[in-house]
């Protein structure tokens, strides 16, 4: 019951006015869909997997990365356990969302899904991998891939 009440409070707390932290306010805006998207104020869950410690302010990605990568990083941060699950299966709606955030054309999505599934162990080398580290690993895997490199170009 406590959790629900906490949830109700969050609904109240996370109104639409956010001080967008870190660099590039635009980066917070999921492409064309959610300038008002609240970020990591998510109802806290006991994530089974992945460390949700990627901070937008400390910004492991720095400020020079492209906006879609930033958006993807934000989404990863609050959904890392579901994304990891979809990655290991090579499909799922959270993986699709990642592809949308990265602006990946439908034709390249199979390659994207395959790449992440094949390299799951290097994206998440341990259960303590942070979502920021996972994002970096994904970006560098995509950079080395002929079809996908263009989506992560800075």
């Amino acid at each position: 019951m406590k959790k629900l009440i906490a949830g109700a409070i969050l609904l109240g707390a996370s109104t639409v006015t956010f001080a967008q932290p870190g660099c590039g306010v635009g980066a917070m805006i999921f492409k064309g869909q959610s300038g008002v998207a609240p970020h990591v104020l998510a109802a806290t869950t006991n994530g089974t997997f992945g460390n949700q410690t990627f901070g937008m302010t400390s910004g492991t990605l720095g400020c020079n990365t492209n906006q879609s990568v930033q958006s993807m990083a934000m989404y990863m941060d609050s959904n890392v356990d579901k994304i990891a699950r979809d990655m290991s299966r090579g499909e799922g709606e959270n993986l699709d969302t990642l592809a949308v955030l990265l602006n990946i054309e439908p034709a390249d999505r199979d390659t994207f899904r395959g790449l992440l599934q094949d390299n799951f162990a290097s994206i998440f080398p341990s259960s303590e991998t942070t979502s920021g580290e996972a994002v970096e690993a994904i970006v560098s895997l995509m950079e080395q891939n002929e079809a996908l490199a263009k989506y992560v170009a800075a």
């Binding site: 109240g12 998207a37 109802a43 089974t48 299966r89 959270n94 094949d118």
Partner: protein
């Protein structure tokens, strides 16, 4: 109460039937009483008197100091403000785009000259093509969500590859409860007022996380058939009310109610608000939306709990045992037991096991030191199996929540208590009990509010209040090797109680906790430890209390529901004796609007046996 409401209806009816009248000649006084303007200001006819009051409890929402009570003053002030020269976000046309749009159209005024960068940016980023009403199924374990919850999702255009519904925004209206409020205070303030209600915008994935992952509630998505103009109007009004306070009341001015008001504004003439009388149960509000042909299509999103139960059910007995053994650490992920399975079976077991661990971490707080490394091993193993089918998704229930029986029930019955015959009338405003037609409701869940049982004894022409239920909640959740929920019950009200010499109406409080187990998919056995408290000055000490037990069987199906068992209570304070009961209740369902019910109870109390027989009809409205 009825009169002012009818008055308002007549007015709006007049307005609708006289569109040919030159609008600019209509005095503003009567335009201010038109339905659309009243909706935009959330005005309602006062219960007493002929005035109006807005449900908005926020000065920022009004341009006139008298705006809270005067639709006319507010209209004049708005009309004046939107015609002022000037531009920018603080201009009235930008603060109240829906009012601006309506007034200009109604009065044939030229378009506003003001540009509104903030509002423009807001609508651009919301990028909404259609609107979906989302219903989160009822959830007994939370006082604010027992009847379900509704919110609106703003869907982006569906024609390009950048569309993603998880990222779509949602608008919801909820009580803004203080963190330190206890659950009792929460319930009290929710019912009698005291919480501000706030409209918020959040991405859909946050909602899924809350409802589907944390609270394990299925979501139903009803895509509305609003036109682009109607969608724009809804957004314009959402802009006007976001961040504005509307005091929150659980029963009427709740989440569902505010959304109905928004739909009424988006599509004038819909008048969903008229359907609300004393309370707005979210599942009922969905019914009205469906009845008014506002729904284009419906999509079911099972909760994490529904999905995991389903994928476990799809495994063979042996695979299920293996999944449990892995989840609890008895079998290693890289051990021979898994390695010997075919890739497809191996992936099914790994998928189910991961989802189960994730569920348990959420629901049962499995320690992270244990769950995280194990989850990681499972996912690494799973990623090495390619090209297998992903877990099957649970099919949508045949009967949706909004298709379940109506929530108001009236019952007529005849019966015999000991040697006295009686006729009984029962009224129950909400919502569902264990024996009602189960389709569209949670299995083993009961939630009743303000039920009234009136008995007329024929032998001496006596009318008696037999039972008044304040609240009665029962949650029988079956346990199995994977899930071990607690079953519980709580209730209070007033009921006839036997003092040994007479039956007096005594306030009572009762509760219980225990377990329940499925014997078949529609039959469960339960065992509860109970506690009862009754207060009456006919008791020697003024009150009495009893620990007790309740053992029974519950069968629920679309054709019939049966509840049978034995109950015992040991009254220990005022009189020291036992009250033992054997009971058998059965309902035969004729569709979901009428049930035939019968009850037999045999009771041993104060050294004598007594029988209760009762047969009657339930009708659901």
């Amino acid at each position: 109460m009825r009169a002012p409401l009818c008055f308002a209806l007549v007015l709006s009816g007049l307005a609708a039937t006289t569109p040919t009248l030159a609008t600019s000649e209509l005095p503003l006084e009567s335009i201010a009483l038109e339905r659309d303007w009243l909706n935009l200001g959330h005005y309602h006819a006062d219960t007493l008197g002929s005035g109006f009051t807005s449900q908005a409890d926020d000065n920022e929402f009004f341009l006139s100091p008298d705006g809270k009570h005067s639709p006319y003053a507010e209209l004049v002030a708005t009309l004046d403000a939107i015609q002022q020269p000037g531009t920018g976000d603080s201009h009235a046309s930008c603060r109240f785009p829906a009012r601006d749009q309506w007034l200009r159209q109604r009065l044939d005024l030229p378009d506003s000259q003001a540009t509104c960068p903030a509002y423009q940016e807001w609508t651009d980023t919301l990028n909404t093509e259609s609107v979906t009403l989302v219903f989160a199924a009822s959830y007994l374990n939370s006082p604010s969500s027992m009847f379900g919850h509704t919110f609106i999702r703003l869907d982006p255009p569906s024609d390009d590859h950048t569309t993603d519904l998880l990222l779509a925004n949602t608008i919801s209206y909820a009580a803004d409860a203080a963190a330190h409020d206890s659950e009792f205070l929460f319930a009290y303030k929710g019912i009698f007022g005291g919480y501000p209600g706030i409209t918020t915008v959040q991405p859909y994935y946050e909602k899924i996380r809350l409802y589907s992952d944390i609270e394990h509630r299925d979501l139903w998505e009803y895509q509305l058939n609003l036109t682009p103009d109607e969608v724009d109007t809804m957004l314009a009004h959402a802009w006007e009310i976001q961040g504005r306070n509307f005091d929150y009341y659980f029963f009427d001015e709740n989440c569902a109610y505010r959304l109905l008001a928004m739909i009424d504004i988006a599509r004038p003439g819909t008048n969903l608000i008229d359907e609300v009388n004393t309370h707005a149960i979210p599942s009922d509000t969905v019914r009205w939306v469906v009845d008014k042909d506002l729904v284009a299509n419906i999509h079911y999103r099972p909760s994490a709990a529904t999905s995991i139960s389903y994928s476990l059910d799809q495994l063979s007995e042996q695979q299920r045992t293996l999944a449990a053994a892995i989840a609890y650490g008895y079998v290693k992920v890289d051990g021979p037991e898994l390695a010997q399975l075919e890739p497809q079976q191996r992936s099914s077991v790994l998928d189910a096991t991961y989802d189960y661990i994730r569920y348990q971490s959420e629901a049962d707080s499995w320690p992270r030191e244990f769950a995280a490394p194990l989850s990681h091993q499972i996912l690494v193993a799973r990623s090495q199996i390619e090209q297998t089918d992903v877990p099957p998704t649970p099919p949508a229930p045949e009967i949706r929540d909004d298709q379940g029986h109506d929530t108001f029930r009236m019952s007529l019955s005849g019966g015999r208590w000991d040697d006295r015959n009686f006729a009984q009338l029962t009224l129950r405003p909400a919502y569902h009990d264990l024996l009602d037609p189960p389709e569209g409701y949670r299995q083993g869940a009961e939630l009743e509010f303000l039920r009234l049982d009136l008995r007329y004894y024929t032998d001496n022409d006596e009318l008696q209040l037999e039972h008044i239920t304040g609240v009665s909640i029962r949650s029988l959740s079956p346990r199995n090797p994977f899930f071990s929920p607690l079953s519980w019950q709580v209730g209070f009200g007033g009921r006839r109680t036997d003092t040994g010499t007479e039956r007096v109406l005594a306030p009572y409080l009762e509760g219980g906790a225990g377990g329940s187990w499925n014997l078949t998919s529609s039959l469960q056995a339960f065992a509860m430890a109970t506690a009862d408290l009754e207060v009456d000055d006919d008791f020697r000490r003024g009150y009495d209390a009893a620990p007790g037990a309740d053992l029974g069987l519950l069968h629920q199906s679309r054709y019939a529901s049966v509840l049978a068992g034995i109950k015992t209570k040991a009254w220990i304070v005022s009189s020291q004796h036992r009250q033992d009961q054997a009971y058998l209740n059965g309902n035969l369902h004729f569709g979901r609007s009428v049930s035939l019910f019968a009850e037999f109870t045999r009771e041993h109390h104060y050294d004598r046996y007594r029988n209760l027989w009762q047969v009657g009809l339930h009708a659901y409205f």
